[in-house]
Symmetry: C2
Subunit: 197 residues, 2 copies
């Protein structure tokens, strides 16, 4: 086979991936504030200017990093696994992610969750990712308060994750995810509203 | 009237109050880690040894400080306002505190919430306060999974507070507490279980 020149788009994709890996590792290790663009660039072996060119800002870079880790784990929606669009499917999809939320979370994801709850810029990223998920939930819920209901559903998932992962409540420790799902199911269904399609 | 010598117990109560005020202010201002016993004592104008004698440890002092601020606001149970013990009363009591959770929270309470979510020792305090509230909730719920249900109810309240106060979700901003209560009520009732007394 030998070496061949990669198309420009493919090269860029790889470089972006390397920067994201470096960013994820550093955000997780030292937190949002202390992870500088310069340090991330050094770790990814690229020029800091390239990081800015590709991602625009540290906040955007953080947001791209968390998109696939902490927020998804905390809220439990996968961005592309659409197996159904009704409110019941949606509740089951959320409950199906309790395993990840109740299990041992990588230190990196925990560090990112902490950053999102304590650092305003990181909170902005979390809010944007959550907002996109609330958008999707809203589509499955009827009524004029659909968006508020969707937001409350997300806060329930955030609460369970925070209670388990950050507060480490004894009551939740070691409880099988199916057991949590059994108790939360009626509660989340109540939030999707009475007029379920 | 003139000055008179206060009874010993009353003097101690006042000194403890002064220490707690200083602790609350300092924890809120600089966070758990940087608020030292020495600095708190200096601010309260007492000897650091006295702080240790009265409170035993910084963690205990933090716990006493948050007992009346962040955790109660976050979870919404008041420690002595027992107006009823049934599960429905309990849900109403929790919903009744949404006003405080949805409104503007003092910066100090926010700082303490952040400490509890990011600092292990502060999390221990939060866990203990939450544990006591879960104890009380458990008494109003029936069935062998009462304690787990109670814990999940607390996590819902924590989630709403975190979503509103720390993540500042647009969807929750400016929504009247009564509206949130209306949507959460069936959800919390579902968590208290079917066998309500």
């Amino acid at each position: 086979m030998g070496e061949r020149v990669l198309p420009r788009a493919e090269r860029r994709r790889r470089t972006e991936g390397r920067i994201l890996d470096a960013a994820r590792a550093l955000f997780a290790e030292v937190g949002y504030e202390r992870a500088t663009i310069r340090a991330i660039a050094r770790s990814a072996e690229v020029d800091p200017a390239l990081v800015m060119q590709y991602f625009g800002s540290k906040q955007e870079l953080f947001q791209q990093s968390v998109r696939v880790t902490a927020v998804d784990t905390a809220t439990g929606t996968e961005t592309d696994a659409d197996t159904g669009t009704g409110a019941e499917d949606l509740v089951e999809r959320l409950l199906g992610t309790l395993g990840a939320k109740m299990g041992e979370m990588p230190q990196g994801s925990l560090a990112m969750m902490r950053s999102m709850l304590t650092h305003p810029e990181a909170a902005t990223s979390a809010r944007q990712v959550l907002g996109a998920q609330i958008d999707r939930l809203t589509e499955s819920i009827h009524g004029e308060d659909a968006r508020l209901r969707a937001a409350l559903i997300m806060t329930v998932m955030v609460g369970v994750t925070v209670g388990n992962q950050l507060l480490e409540l004894d009551e939740l420790r070691g409880v099988p995810p199916e057991e949590i799902a059994r108790l939360l199911r009626p509660s989340l269904r109540a939030l999707t509203g009475p007029d379920v399609s």
